[in-house]
């Protein structure tokens, strides 16, 4: 059965490739929310618009290599994730990753989450902020690729195969990295209460 959703996208792409640049606006309007959701999961909020902009420019430039066999939104998602990966690689290369420090409230958060009570009971809004801060603190201490693996597999719940496809890496590589990242994260989280705040 022909997917009408896809066939509509394919027609628009054919028009863009035939020289109708304005037709790209249809794709931009249709998928901007989709891209913004991906961006907001991987990037600081103040960078979302800029990187989403870059994603659509990359998508436009690569449109000629779109093979019309896969779903356009999936193809665009891969470009979006890879643009986020590139953003973090640049940030790490330029040493511009913000290194926040943690306080007692974060330690309390970790104690509560790892206590015998279910983590689900700590999903309230105020706990989310602390969880987000701990996550950002830990991610700033990982490499750009490790950060993306944590983001895709641990936070968004993608499988290793999907993460490998998004990041254009082999499944074996992603599996090895995710295993190492798990250990790194465990080590990082274990030292929160041991390491003084100033030295973080």
């Amino acid at each position: 059965m022909v997917d009408l959703h896809n066939s509509g996208d394919f027609q628009v792409i054919h028009r863009v490739l035939a020289g109708d640049i304005n037709a790209f606006e249809t794709l931009l309007e249709k998928y901007q929310n989709h891209v913004f959701i991906i961006m907001s999961k991987h990037l600081p909020q103040d960078m979302v618009e800029e990187i989403a902009h870059e994603t659509f420019i990359s998508a436009y430039k690569s449109l000629g290599s779109f093979n019309f066999e896969s779903n356009f939104s999936h193809w665009l998602s891969k470009i979006a994730v890879r643009t986020c990966h590139d953003f973090w690689r640049k940030q790490y290369r330029n040493h511009e990753v913000p290194m926040s420090s943690l306080t007692d409230k974060h330690q309390n958060w970790l104690d509560r989450v790892t206590s015998t009570q279910s983590a689900l009971s700590y999903n309230q809004a105020q706990r989310r902020i602390e969880a987000h801060e701990v996550l950002e603190w830990a991610m700033a201490r990982l490499s750009a690729t490790d950060r993306m693996i944590v983001s895709l597999m641990y936070v968004e719940g993608y499988s290793g195969k999907e993460a490998a496809e998004f990041l254009d890496m082999s499944l074996a590589n992603v599996k090895v990295r995710s295993f190492r990242v798990r250990h790194k994260l465990k080590k990082l989280l274990a030292v929160i209460d041991v390491q003084p705040e100033e030295s973080l």
Binding site: I21, S40, K41, Q45, V113, T114, R127, A131
Partner: protein, 118 residues
């Protein structure tokens, strides 16, 4: 504090719930226009095909694109090799090789190590 696997699973679950929800995304006014403005400034696209002509033109385009960025490095490398060749004096090594080639290996080894044949 050492985290057990169960602790880590709880932390992972908490992390997966801490990201902003999709409803909170706001796009600033004029963002779409800015993207389209940039898109219009890019030259019109061509669908990539695998015909020999297209592959050749892609290759030539790639060479043309990278030629001037590689040229200074290539020149520096050629200059470095020229200086190296001039300093090493290949002629002497060539003569030495020729000497070993033409002389019996046993004799030349003894001679080169200054051993007495007795």
């Amino acid at each position: 504090m050492k985290l057990t696997n169960k602790d880590f699973e709880n932390v992972k679950e908490a992390f997966s719930n801490c990201r902003p929800q999709s409803g909170s995304i706001k796009v600033s006014a004029g963002w779409q226009q800015r993207v389209m403005q940039d898109v219009r400034s890019i030259e019109p696209l061509k669908q990539k095909t695998d015909t020999p002509y297209d592959l050749l033109s892609q290759l030539l385009e790639g060479i043309h694109h990278h030629f001037w960025s590689i040229a200074p490095v290539a020149c520096a490398f050629i200059l470095f090799l020229s200086i190296l060749v001039a300093k090493i004096d290949i002629g002497t090594e060539y003569e030495l090789n020729q000497f070993f080639y033409e002389t019996q290996s046993e004799n030349s080894l003894y001679q080169s190590l200054n051993f007495d044949e007795s």
